[in-house]
Symmetry: C2
Subunit: 274 residues, 2 copies
């Protein structure tokens, strides 16, 4: 019990190379998409009755499910709603996150807020992205708050961590991806870039004279929630794109901005490929 | 001190008809856009030096700023970063939120999570919406967590509260708005609707044979973060639109979904009007 609860702490996660997945949605997706990483599943009778698919899927994958008393489960986690799993961590390399012929990848640079990081992974999944990459200095992707806010998306697409920014961008270019940085200081407006994608034309960045076509395979680079991207990081990209702000708001938060960028790319790519 | 801190509680907000704004961004926007509602501004010397525009704008608006010791300010709020204001509440009617010739309005039905509600108000502001409306049964828009997560947007656009859903929708139609409900069960795909807007055509809802053109003035209806919209609420709309989910994610969260819908409308409207 205590050893499970300890996985809420980074030190225990590192030492044992394991992490916690809390709640029915997360555990269901872990059992479906990452059964080989699952060590233990803990389930109260009530949760088992409410979510029969969890036990069914676990059994089909040869996983043993521990029937657990509600008090014992609460002692392991306060956010589990009767369902908890312990998983083996698996290191995903940047190369693995960029394998195949990726069309859409999200790269988070020094994102620190667990909810933001998890929500961007969820947005990337929903937009049909092929992978996510977090630079070193970002929040631990196995932090329970990150895992919870991905709502299972962590198991749907390869998520690399501890990446070096310049190396990742070089690898992405070699894999055929253009690199777009999302930043309020961008010289290109996302709507203009999207419009030019619609007209099968390309927006021209007058500063960098870089042709940007959203329909092309793209790696999106997103910066820290408080400080955005520095000049050195923006310079690594092919173009810096800003989301238009039409009202008096100063900005959008990171998760909202990333959701808009990823969905705008997804739409442009789908229009171009049908 | 204690009377300021008490405004974190709904009962004190109701009794005194006042609410708290915490932090430099929120207070700066309150002083700029809602000076007539501001009763008191509390500022530490450090925060005054870091954000001189707050004191300047307050003085220009004839507002007195209380120089406040850090300990005294911390006793009033833990989330103020040295800047705090007490504002008079002002009831905004649905009619006021739909005044003029609105082109884009967000209607939140029984949204309960403060962060979600605040983020949608921020997204509506950034997308250039004319107003926001929260139905009765929604979170108190003057809850400090809501106010904080709007990051000042609460003072940028009229936000009506306690609205009756059917009446609001009738008023919106009378104001020339089409009513689109955002829901995973929608019969129309947002990308298809947006594509038809691009081709100056209109998507046809085969079930309801309703012509939906995103470029038209639009009220977006968003449901509760956990339960979405019920059938009765969806039936009040002209069409129900779903955001496409391309990966394995089950859904997007409310704030992400609302951001995408509002931005997609904003883009279609701007393309049509230039």
């Amino acid at each position: 019990m205590r050893s499970v609860r300890a996985l809420a702490q980074a030190s225990a996660r590192s030492r044992r190379d394991q992490f916690l997945v809390e709640g029915p949605q997360g555990v269901r997706e872990a059992v479906r998409f990452a059964a080989d990483q699952v060590r233990d599943v803990y389930l109260t009778a009530e949760a088992a009755a409410r979510h029969p698919e969890i036990e069914d899927t676990a059994r089909a994958a040869g996983l043993y499910v521990h029937p657990t008393a509600p008090e014992a489960l609460s002692a392991m986690s306060e956010d589990a709603q009767g369902v908890l799993a312990v998983l083996q961590r698996r290191k995903v390399s940047v190369t693995a996150a960029l394998a195949g012929e990726p069309r859409l990848v999200a790269l988070l640079h020094q994102v620190r807020d667990p909810g933001n990081a998890g929500t961007v992974i969820r947005a990337a999944d929903a937009a049909g992205a092929d992978g996510c990459i977090l630079s070193h200095g970002s929040v631990d992707v196995h932090n329970p708050k990150v895992v919870r806010s991905t709502v299972g998306s962590l198991f749907h697409l390869p998520t690399a961590t501890g990446a070096d920014l310049a190396e990742t961008i070089a690898t992405a270019r070699a894999a055929g991806l253009q690199v777009l940085a999302a930043d309020g200081a961008g010289s290109l407006d996302l709507d203009d870039v999207a419009d030019s994608a619609d007209s099968a034309d390309s927006a021209v960045d007058t500063e960098a004279t870089t042709a940007v076509t959203l329909a092309r395979p793209t790696l999106w680079l997103f910066g820290n929630e408080a400080h955005g991207l520095g000049e050195a990081e923006r310079d690594l990209a092919d173009a810096v794109v800003r989301i238009p702000i039409h009202g008096h708001a100063e900005s959008l938060n990171l998760a909202m901005a990333a959701t808009i960028c990823l969905y705008t790319s997804a739409r442009a790519q789908r229009r171009a490929h049908r």
